[in-house]
Symmetry: C2
Subunit: 307 residues, 2 copies
């Protein structure tokens, strides 16, 4: 269980401020709590750092602008006010607190959540609650980067085109309603795996509950699942990695895929912002990513993604 | 916007207690807030009352045992501890506070939520947070009981059998992850309707975001959608109404149905615990429930359900 290090909150009538990590932060009727009605981003704080990142003093937030842009898209889909400047300020408050309070930590996991806030009369603009938590990197993520993970595939229930013309299904929106995502991860654990991998009703690859799936079908080619009517989330880390990989000479494509494509690939990765790209070494109990090049490619792609 | 009247909370290390309605109640890493990971029940407090109900002094909680049983089933599906006795105690604390604090109110809306609580180390039993809110009955619900509602149908995205053998999809579990439910209600409002009605990908009737659908195809016959692999929630109010209606001479069946069945019916109702059975007077912009008997049947079925 990662230790909670810093909490910063901004709510109606309250300026962005650091609060105690054990302090309650939302009222009983906050719609984030009662309905999972809100959106979030998972990010990372890195001591020092540089490159495609926003610097907050001595702290870098890798890929910050992409995360804020995705949060803006999520908020728009939920008809929540776009307050990217306010979210960035809140993040800055938390990052500075971590920078000075935990000088021995090299990196930390951040969650930036925006709820619909407490109910307002019909027709009035919502007054969101924004919460930033900074947690210590958990041992499982660090181990996953080095050793890889076992993954269990399971259906997401939806067909491959279920999200076409149905914006209320919130395809591609990173909402706070993640009960199915966590239930899938418990199911994966029950099957002896570290994470889940969702497939559509027709067997098409989708994504993991909190990560996207990438694979290397042949040398120099990187694939991930194309977004669209399948409802999957656009991955900030995958986009960053694709850009870097192309500059390094890789071809990188969005495509469709199946579990058979993963079994045949030289390398399979799950990619997310905090854990980074991690090698999938087992899929549904069978070894994958066992090509002689897999370990080296994993290290290369982790470095290209800034890990 | 219904006024929040009473809040009672029970969390790790805190006995069930009433807190201020504006007081924050959950920590920033409570999994109910960060993941919509938990379950809830909507209930009603009624001044006085009797019958198939649990009395808390001068206050009745209609159908309490059915609600607690459903919450137990939800908790089990989420692998949360079953604490029915504790939830009932917390409800009692809130009900007593309402009974004495708001003596002029005849009824109130209650939400009993149980979150997974703050993260615990892997393998340890979760320590849930339980929250009860008591709110004034909102004008919209009272008007809906008298005048009926307009409903907009829309797909839920899933196929009619999507939840078969996939317990991680949490079919039939009343989780806190309701972002799609509230997005559907916003879509309904955009279409000029008061509520949404979900259909499966093949057009089969499912349920409303926070209510079940019932219809009267012919005199003396009441139908609702059968639960199963379609993932819909079992409705406590529908079960109560079916029992009462059968005692009053109705036939009452669980079946499959389509929008065409609703258009042809003498009466269509949405049924939930707080609003009770309300007549659907418009479906996708067209009048329904316009049979000469519809108003009388609505009143009869509302009375049979205790409204």
């Amino acid at each position: 269980m990662p230790a909670l290090l810093v909490v910063a909150v901004s709510a109606e009538g309250r300026a962005p401020a650091v609060v105690g990590v054990d302090e309650p932060v939302v009222a009983a009727d906050d719609l984030g709590l009662t309905r999972g009605d809100g959106c979030f981003e998972g990010l990372r704080l890195v001591r020092g750092g540089s490159g495609d990142a926003a610097s907050e003093g001595a702290v870098t937030v890798p890929n910050l602008s992409a995360h804020l842009a995705r949060l803006q898209r999520s908020a728009r889909s939920l008809e929540l006010p776009d307050d990217a400047a306010g979210w960035a300020r809140l993040l800055d408050v938390a990052a500075r607190e971590w920078a000075t309070g935990f000088p021995d930590d090299d990196e930390a996991a951040v969650k930036l959540s925006v709820t619909r806030g407490r109910p307002v009369p019909a027709g009035q603009v919502p007054r969101p609650t924004a919460v930033v938590t900074v947690s210590a990197m958990d041992a499982g993520s660090l181990r996953a980067r080095r050793e890889g993970i076992a993954v269990a595939s399971m259906t997401r229930g939806y067909g491959p085109e279920s999200f076409a013309d149905a914006p209320w299904l919130l395809g591609g929106v990173k909402t706070l309603s993640y009960a199915i995502h966590t239930a899938a991860q418990r199911e994966a654990a029950r099957r002896g795996a570290d994470d889940a991998l969702f497939t559509a009703a027709d067997g098409a690859l989708l994504e993991a509950p909190t990560a996207s799936v990438l694979w290397v079908p042949e040398p120099g080619l990187l694939r991930t699942v194309a977004q669209g009517a399948n409802g999957i989330l656009g991955s900030t880390t995958q986009h960053l990695l694709f850009d870097s990989a192309r500059r390094a000479g890789w071809r990188a494509e969005e495509a469709s895929g199946t579990l058979a494509d993963l079994r045949a690939a030289q390398l399979v990765l799950l990619t997310s912002a905090v854990r980074g790209p991690v090698r999938v070494v087992q899929l549904d109990g069978e070894p994958v990513s066992q090509h002689p090049s897999a370990a080296g490619l994993t290290a290369e792609l982790q470095a290209l993604a800034g890990f």
